[in-house]
């Protein structure tokens, strides 16, 4: 391609990109939706959703009313549990669990203290509502730990061991160190995950909507008879919408995630934006494919929703790939979001550089190229 032909090619791309941006700016509803996703939506997800057990309401049926039982009950407290008081019978407990007013019930038998003093095994019952699996599992885990501690302390006291003697006893201490998110702040993880979902959705949605709108209006024919190639028609949509999305990401990062949730950026922001751009490009390839098979904006929207769930579920953001069945683990390797999640977590939280993420980077580049050119190819077949 000689120089003037290249300039002409660029001119056309620029003119079409400007056109797309102008059309977007003149659509206040769409702008509002984009603004919402990059601000309020991410904020709500980060501040509202938590995966920790936090102030779980529990109640106790204390048949014993002894100093031992009171001591045990006292240990179920904030930040994990919120002791809401005593109840007298099982029916009431069941009722409260059924209606969701409390998360767990601790049932202490009549001879709890006397068994302990007699050196017999004393059992307590802990009923947990595990309709929310994560919270239920956490609640029973914490409860086990609390009762174990209580038992150990009671034994120590019975044996009359001093603190020095305790330290000298052959006990294995499990000391763990939390890396990357030392305080285990959910909002860090949540805000990044939500931001990725938003990016995924908009990267598919916006270029697809722009393409299908031309179909609905009939302007696509006008472009098809012009000297524009399919690539020149489609690439500007991806460029313009990609720019808008990157702008949204920057806004979300610097106005919401960093100032409000104090996410420390460990790695290179530039690298993060570069891989985000690459990701937007590959997700918009899926969007273009959607545009070729739908006739109206409504169809585009439904198809985006249809694809969004599997993409997010298979991304590894919610479940680590190791926990998935082998087939699904294999399917994950063709989800661009999987690579993107890996890389952005690595860059933002772990401070990884390109030397660490290059594997995922290659995967994403390959997938993006395939999706995008598949979208263009489908489009060309329709409008030759």
């Amino acid at each position: 391609m000689n120089r003037s032909a290249l300039l002409l090619w660029l001119d056309r791309i620029i003119a079409m990109t400007i056109k797309e941006l102008k059309q977007l700016i003149r659509d206040p509803v769409l702008l509002l939706i984009i603004a919402y996703f990059f601000t309020a939506d991410v904020y709500m997800a980060a501040s509202g959703v938590t995966l920790n057990l936090h102030n779980a309401p529990i109640m106790v049926i204390d048949h014993n009313h002894s100093s031992a039982s009171r001591e045990l009950i006292y240990r179920f407290r904030e930040p994990y549990f919120d002791f809401k008081g005593e109840i007298s019978n099982k029916n009431e407990a069941e009722n409260l669990l059924n209606t969701g007013k409390i998360v767990a019930v601790l049932d202490i038998p009549e001879n709890f203290q006397s068994f302990l003093f007699q050196g017999k095994q004393a059992a307590v019952q802990f009923q947990v509502d595990t309709s929310n699996t994560t919270l239920g599992t956490l609640a029973s885990g914490y409860a086990t730990e609390i009762t174990n501690d209580f038992g150990q302390d009671f034994v120590n006291k019975r044996l009359g061991l001093t603190d020095e003697q305790m330290d000298a006893a052959p006990v294995i201490q499990n000391r763990y160190r939390v890396l990357y998110n030392p305080n285990r702040i959910d909002s860090w993880f949540m805000s990044i995950s939500e931001l990725m979902t938003v990016i995924t959705m908009l990267s598919m949605m916006l270029p697809a909507a722009a393409a299908v709108r031309e179909k609905e209006r009939g302007t696509i024919e006008q472009l098809a008879v012009s000297p524009l190639s399919s690539l020149q028609i489609l690439l500007p949509k991806v460029i313009s919408m990609g720019l808008v999305i990157l702008l949204g990401v920057a806004f979300c990062l610097f106005v919401i995630i960093i100032p409000v949730f104090h996410l420390p950026i460990k790695g290179s922001i530039g690298l993060f934006f570069a891989i985000t751009a690459l990701y937007v490009f590959s997700a918009s390839g899926i969007g273009l494919f959607i545009a070729t098979i739908s006739h109206t904006l409504a169809e585009v929207t439904l198809l985006v929703i249809l694809l969004l769930f599997p993409l997010v579920l298979l991304s590894g953001a919610w479940t680590p790939p190791e926990a998935m069945p082998p087939v699904i683990r294999w399917v994950m390797t063709i989800s661009p979001l999987y690579y993107y999640t890996e890389m952005s977590n690595a860059i933002l939280l772990k401070g990884a550089g390109i030397n660490i993420i290059w594997g995922s980077l290659t995967g994403l580049t390959a997938l993006g190229g395939i999706f995008f050119f598949f979208g263009v190819w489908r489009f060309r077949r329709q409008f030759g």
Binding site: K19, K22, R217, G218, E221, A224
Partner: protein, 654 residues
């Protein structure tokens, strides 16, 4: 019982001082109107004249601000009053099949509307049978509505509007986008139904050539009624004559005449001038006197058509006059050579969609500087043919050249040399006029050095001065159409493709549009291929091809086509009687073929006019029907179209 006796003095609709506005824009401006029982009343006017708003108001679908509206002697001043009249009228909104359900079948649509109107099952069965037979839709009763052709959709819409036997039907542009044969059929059915049930109809149309079908009509513009009355009376209001001539060289003649007669147009090789306020002979003399140094080949005087009357009336309105001021049409930067070379050639071009053959081995050729018209009913294959020639759709077989390049190998080259304007005026509604033009200028790679100059050129040729900053979506149809043309011309193409470019545009706008096309063909030698449903436009082409079922069934100049029909089937007899419907049945019984009702007249083609005339006179006398007039005229292009297509359809059926 004759038709005229049905029109009683009783008013069905009585309106005075009616005003209706949307926000600040006045859509209906102090309108007064009376429609009598049994009348077919027409509302004619350009897009945006206020026809739809007025009809919706009368149908009780929309409220109004000022004035009074009486329907069936009920003063419609409240929602409750509007509810009272709704059961007695039927309203069909604008748009092909917009009030119908695409996924429901023909029969299901009818049943739905009947249930809505609480028609008893017995009555429904009876009426449905009759209406379906009459509209030839009975074979398609199980077909989903969305798979019907445009004409069939309109007929189904009509059935659904009539299923509860309303006393008044209000039809908003029922024939826009429908081909001539379906249109004729539609009007015939409507006339018969109205006659049988003695109901009243208020019908709007953007097309002047349908005016003769109305008993009375009102011309609307800018929310106001310019004039009302019988079609003939309105034509006479123009107080002038049309002089039609052919002259060599045509451009020179046009230039000379334009100085004195602003109302002038080119129709193929002919020039038509409207001359005001003098007798026919004087008009002839005056026009000839103007043409010094030009060879006049043929000159004739005619009565004015409604379209001229309309434009003439508009000229009296100072506000409207501004919009029809003649604009100077600028030239191309580099004029094309006047070599009459082949610009478009189709050779055995064919396209299949699955088992359906949309275009079947068509052949035609268009020279540079020629306006070529492609005619045909909805679904005849016109759009598919254009799509193949413009390179949007690959042909299944056959070949063609466009702008000197082979369709099969040089798609890109062709795209750079052609301009294309689609049915829907494909513009970006959320971009301004200038932004639209600039976008296409960039797409077609207009050199940066000349881009400013070129943008100005487009603004001038399309007559867009003063609207450059407005959003395309906010413009009236006529201007939007010229903008679409401007965008198609931005690279000064060698060949121009126009797919139904004038549907829904007013006559003034249409004339301006055709002025530009004539300039492009005559001065710049651009080859223009245009498709249209409207015969008044087909007349303006140099050369026509008539398509039917994917094939080209006639290919000649308009004049030759008319001559051929005249040689084959004779002249058109127009019979006016005091009771047309009875007269028609007499003629049908007497086996005089091909007669049809056209407004209040009966028309038929007759080879031996004198014999048939005598036959008719005797026949009508025998049935004591009074003959008011009987005249013979040459067939029109519409007659050619209808005759040729029906001929083929009858042969296919036989």
């Amino acid at each position: 019982m004759g038709e005229t006796t049905l029109v009683s003095g009783q008013a069905v609709i009585k309106i005075s001082g009616l005003c209706k506005s949307y926000k600040k824009k006045l859509a209906v401006d102090t309108v007064a109107l009376t429609v009598k029982r049994g009348e077919i009343y027409g509302l004619i006017g350009p897009d945006g004249a206020g026809k739809s708003s007025l009809m919706k108001t009368i149908a009780g679908v929309m409220s109004f601000e000022q004035g009074s509206l009486e329907v069936f002697d009920v003063n419609v001043d409240s929602e409750a009053a509007a509810e009272k009249i709704k059961g007695r009228l039927g309203f069909m909104p604008q748009g092909l099949g917009l009030n119908l359900y695409g996924d429901l079948s023909v029969e299901e649509n009818i049943d739905f509307f009947a249930q809505l109107r609480q028609v008893s099952p017995q009555q429904l069965a009876e009426r449905k049978e009759k209406l379906l037979t009459m509209t030839w839709l009975d074979k398609f009763r199980d077909r989903p509505m969305k798979n019907l052709s445009g004409g069939m959709k309109q007929k189904l819409g009509l059935i659904c509007t009539l299923i509860h036997e309303p006393e008044l039907v209000i039809l908003d542009e029922p024939t826009t986008g429908v081909d001539p044969i379906s249109r004729r059929n539609f009007w015939a059915i409507l006339a018969e139904l109205l006659r049988e049930h003695g109901i009243t109809a208020l019908i709007s149309t953007a097309y002047m050539d349908e005016a003769a079908r109305f008993h009375r009509l009102s011309l609307m513009f800018n929310g106001q009624i310019l004039t009302s009355g019988e079609p003939d009376v309105i034509c006479q209001q123009a107080q002038g004559y049309l002089v039609q001539l052919t002259a060599e060289p045509q451009l020179e003649a046009l230039k000379l005449l334009k100085v004195r007669y602003p109302q002038i147009e080119t129709i193929g090789s002919r020039i038509r001038v409207f001359v005001n306020n003098i007798s026919p002979d004087e008009a002839l003399k005056a026009v000839s006197g103007q043409l010094i140094g030009v060879e006049i080949k043929n000159i004739q005087v005619f009565d004015t058509y409604l379209e001229d009357a309309f434009i003439n009336l508009l000229r009296k309105d100072p506000l409207a006059d501004q919009s029809i001021k003649e604009a100077i049409i600028p030239c191309f930067d580099n004029p094309l050579p006047d070599n009459q070379g082949i610009a478009i050639e189709a050779k055995q071009l064919t396209r299949d969609f699955g088992k359906f053959r949309s275009v079947d081995h068509i052949n035609f050729s268009v020279r540079q500087g020629e306006i070529f018209g492609l005619l045909g009913a909805n679904g005849a294959g016109k759009t598919t043919a254009i799509k193949m020639l413009t390179g949007i759709l690959p042909p299944s077989s056959g070949e063609g050249t466009v702008a000197g390049a082979d369709m099969r190998f040089a798609g890109q080259l062709i795209k750079e040399r052609i301009g294309y304007m689609s049915q829907a005026f494909s513009l970006y509604h959320d971009l301004t006029v200038m932004e639209n033009i600039r976008l296409y200028a960039s797409i077609y790679g207009i050199n940066r050095k000349i881009i400013k100059q070129r943008l100005a050129w487009v603004m001038q040729i399309a007559g867009l001065a003063g609207v450059s900053g407005q959003l395309a979506g906010s413009l009236p149809m006529g201007i939007r159409q010229r903008l679409a043309l401007g965008c198609a011309l931005v690279h000064q193409p060698v060949v121009l493709f126009l797919d139904e470019p004038t549907s829904g545009v007013d006559p003034v706008g249409r004339r301006h549009f055709w002025d530009i096309l004539v300039h492009l063909a005559r001065v710049e030698h651009v080859a223009i291929l245009v498709t249209t449903h409207y015969m008044s436009e087909a007349e303006r082409c140099d050369h026509l091809a008539l398509m039917h079922a994917g094939r080209v069934i006639a290919d000649d100049s308009p004049a030759n086509m008319i001559q051929a029909l005249q040689n084959e089937a004779g002249q058109m007899l127009k019979i006016t009687t005091d009771s047309p419907s009875e007269a028609l049945s007499c003629l049908e019984q007497a086996n005089i073929k091909g007669s049809g009702l056209y407004g209040r007249h009966i028309q038929l083609l007759a080879l031996d006019t004198e014999t048939v005339e005598n036959q008719i006179r005797v026949l009508l006398e025998k049935h004591s029907i009074k003959l008011i007039s009987l005249e013979a005229r040459p067939p029109t292009l519409e007659d050619v179209f209808v005759y040729r297509v029906l001929e083929l359809e009858n042969r296919d059926q036989a």
